[in-house]
């Protein structure tokens, strides 16, 4: 073959290989998996054993082996005892006392779990490099005091009503061994972190996988059905599908688009017990605190009418039915579900008029703001994270809707870490970006997303800050309800961002390997509680 004909031949070969994927037979490793090895193909996460530097979705990698003080019940979503048997708050909610469980042993012989381990784990969140989602919350703790080996008190600078959430499996305070740290330091912890879970850490191959093995004498008697658990990392969606169909993986995190292919091949969808994630589109550069040098008045969406136009350009029903296969419900204010403090049922009735699909009105609003057809151009950033596969597709769909109202867009696919760095450094005035975020209590949600002193900067102004401060000082339920609603109403009226949908977390599994799996979806990492994965009866 002549050398120059090699290139077209390679293209042909590539096309043939791609088609080959569609006809790849399922291997027989499903049988091998029974009781032995469970492989979960994940889109990947920020790989690190340092739980204090990664975001909540990345806690998937800790869920099997690093436990928390409280559990999230997989069926009810309630906070229940875990490493702490009991907990209580002082009347002013400034002190939280946890009675710790006795007789819990750390993996690899690092001794029993005590109050010292809780203090040590919290100290990790206070390290200067701590960038975990709730690091800001944990920094509000003035003191963590051990009353004795099995009682610990967290004293906050101000009332904290969201402590049960933060200390639970939904939060990010993972309990690690003080003895190991004193003996081996960060190096030893990075190499083989000791936890107390029903799986213990085996090792990780960066960019490829993280492995765990079953602990046979878990303190609570949790007995995972599978001896080994592997998180196999595969950034490409089609690779995860191929891994699942070929039997190389038994569970896969797939976008809804590909779920259909998997279902046709006999796979089964497992949904979280609760709708736990919402998708919203953030508009970068909304830094309205007086004197903020990052505020650029020429950013189009600093005008309210532009924000409303960008909302009204989107046909939410169509987007939900196509990209998300109709699986979801409307979000009226980003982060507020019916169970959130401050939820206002009136939003639902006013939503259509204010946010509903109306391209003509959207065009008129843009014109009113001084943007005729073709005069507004911006970037839509897209990224994927575990359980967040639809981001790029939503970005493309937004581009289509915005083109219809005369707005030109460019889509840039980046790593989540890059996008996060951009909005944390307030260097994202150029762009909007769809994001999927997990439910959290209103106060915590306002702190992480809208409070100007939080590391994330999405939409911040004096109004939100003032009311957030009031909310943090309030412990009366009625008052808190009123304040939280005031903030949420403000965000609704101001079109702070582009709220889209709520949905459950979904993964696809091979039913020959996974017959049952109940997980709440509320826990950090979304697809959690792997000890509850049950194989079919023999």
């Amino acid at each position: 073959m002549r050398p120059r004909l090699v290139s077209p031949a390679l293209v042909l070969l590539l096309v043939a290989l791609l088609f080959g994927l569609g006809t790849a037979p399922m291997s027989g490793s499903a049988q091998e998996a029974k009781g032995q090895r469970l492989v979960f193909a994940s889109a990947g996460f920020d790989e690190s054993n340092r739980f204090w530097v990664v975001a909540r979705p990345d806690h998937l990698q800790y869920d099997p082996f690093l436990e928390t003080l409280l559990e999230v019940d997989p069926k009810t979503g309630e906070y229940t005892p875990r490493l702490a048997e009991k907990w209580s708050a002082s009347p002013d909610f400034k002190e939280w006392t946890f009675i710790l469980r006795k007789g819990v042993q750390f993996h690899f012989g690092y001794g029993p779990f005590t109050a010292r381990d809780v203090i040590h784990s919290h100290s990790m969140m206070m390290r200067p490099e701590a960038t975990a989602t709730l690091a800001g919350f944990w920094r509000q703790v003035e003191e963590v005091k051990a009353i004795n080996d099995h009682e610990v008190v967290f004293r906050f600078k101000r009332p904290s009503t969201v402590m049960p959430y933060a200390a639970s499996r939904a939060g990010d305070l993972r309990i690690v061994s003080k003895v190991q740290w004193d003996k081996e330091g960060l190096e030893g912890f990075e190499k083989r972190p000791a936890g107390t879970g029903s799986y213990r850490y085996v090792g990780r191959q960066p960019g490829l996988s993280v492995s765990f093995e079953r602990v046979d004498n878990h303190w609570k008697g949790e007995k995972p059905a599978f001896k080994e658990l592997v998180f196999r990392l595969a950034r490409e969606e089609s690779t995860r599908l191929a891994l699942l169909l070929s039997g190389e993986a038994h569970i896969a995190d797939l976008p809804r688009e590909l779920q259909k292919d998997a279902l046709k091949r006999g796979m089964k969808i497992y949904s979280s017990s609760f709708p736990v994630d919402w998708m919203t589109v953030y508009l970068g550069g909304q830094y309205y605190m007086p004197g903020d040098p990052a505020f650029k008045p020429d950013v189009a969406w600093t005008k309210k009418s532009v924000r409303q136009a960008l909302n009204m350009a989107i046909n939410r029903k169509e987007l939900l039915n196509t990209v998300f296969a109709g699986k979801g419900s409307m979000t009226y204010v980003t982060g507020w579900s019916e169970k959130s403090e401050g939820f206002n049922p009136e939003w639902q009735h006013r939503f259509d008029k204010m946010y509903g699909y109306d391209p003509a009105k959207a065009k008129a609003l843009l014109k009113e703001a001084g943007y005729g057809p073709g005069q507004l151009k911006f970037k839509i950033l897209a990224f994927t994270e575990p359980g967040e596969s639809e981001g790029p597709q939503v970005a493309e769909a937004l581009g289509i809707y915005y083109k219809d109202i005369g707005v030109a867009t460019e889509i840039e696919v980046l790593d989540w870490a890059k996008v996060r760095e951009m909005f944390r450094k307030k260097a994202i005035q150029c762009c909007i970006w769809p994001n999927i975020i997990s439910w959290r209590p209103s106060e915590e949600w306002i702190r992480t997303s809208y409070y100007s002193k939080s590391p994330n900067h999405h939409y911040e102004n004096e109004f939100v800050d003032k009311h957030y401060d009031a909310l943090t000082k309030s412990v009366k339920p009625d008052e808190r309800q009123r304040i939280a609603r005031t903030i949420a109403d403000h965000l609704f009226e101001e079109f702070a961002d582009i709220p889209l949908f709520w949905f459950a977390n979904e993964v696809v599994a091979n039913p020959k390997v996974v017959a049952e799996w109940v997980y709440p979806g509320l826990a950090a990492g979304r697809s959690t509680h792997f000890h509850l994965v049950r194989p079919p009866a023999k």
Binding site: L5, S238, D261, G399, I400, V413
Partner: protein
Amino acid sequence: MATVTARTLPWYSPPRVAQAMRQARRYPLVPLAMLTFLLVIPAVLATQVAPHDPLKGALAKRLKPPAWQQGGTIEHPLGTDKVGRDILSRIIHGARVSLVVSLVAIFVGGALGTTLGLMSGYFGGWVDALLMRLVDISLSLPTILLALVLVAAVGPSFGTVIGVLVVLLWARYARLVRGETLAIKERDFIARARVAGASHTRIMARYIFPNVVNSLIVLATLQVGYVILLESALSFLGAGLPRPTPAWGLMIADGRELIVTAWWVSMFPGLAIMLTVLALNLLGDWLRDHFDPKLRHV
């Protein structure tokens, strides 16, 4: 004793495909026609020829199959992609993108490489040594990796892609031109020009350059296909032109997750790349045969 080979046997006939390829290389009509239909006409008349706006989609019409498949319509002969954009229109506009990118990159890279190659061959000495080491370095760089690093550093855009391609292309031109210049500068007419008082620049521009043009045309023609493939590869890897530009590589990337259920999303742009590159390679072969005196006499 006479040697008997397959070619001397009376019943031997070369495979049809090989025959066809030989014919195609011998006569430029086939590649030229392919190029005209696949690249030139769509590129020049994209707006007139394309049935739809390549950027306009409709989610309600997403993933419609080609017209001849069940569920397909003549409105979208090659189907639609995952946001309901017409595949045919995007391929047509993609031809313009591919052509513009490759021509601009080859022109800029060729101009730079030719200039440096002329200087290197003509002046020799340390200029030659320095430039040729630069060429060696450039040619030894892993192409795709270098492109990914450059694009990651400055962000994807039309300018970035052109820049990356120029960095990857100039060295081949420099080496070719330098080799030819080394031979040409020893010839009598160059010596005469020097005696007549022509400046170095004039000698290079008026006497040497016209003698290397034929080789440059052949190389440039062959490189159009290479550049289209490279640009497509970069776009496929997300380091090329930004979305939603209708670039062929991006279109293939868009469809790779849907290959089982919506094969048309990546298949047709893949075919467009393959046929275009094949046509350009055949044309390049013919040009080389035509311009190379040794091959022409054979």
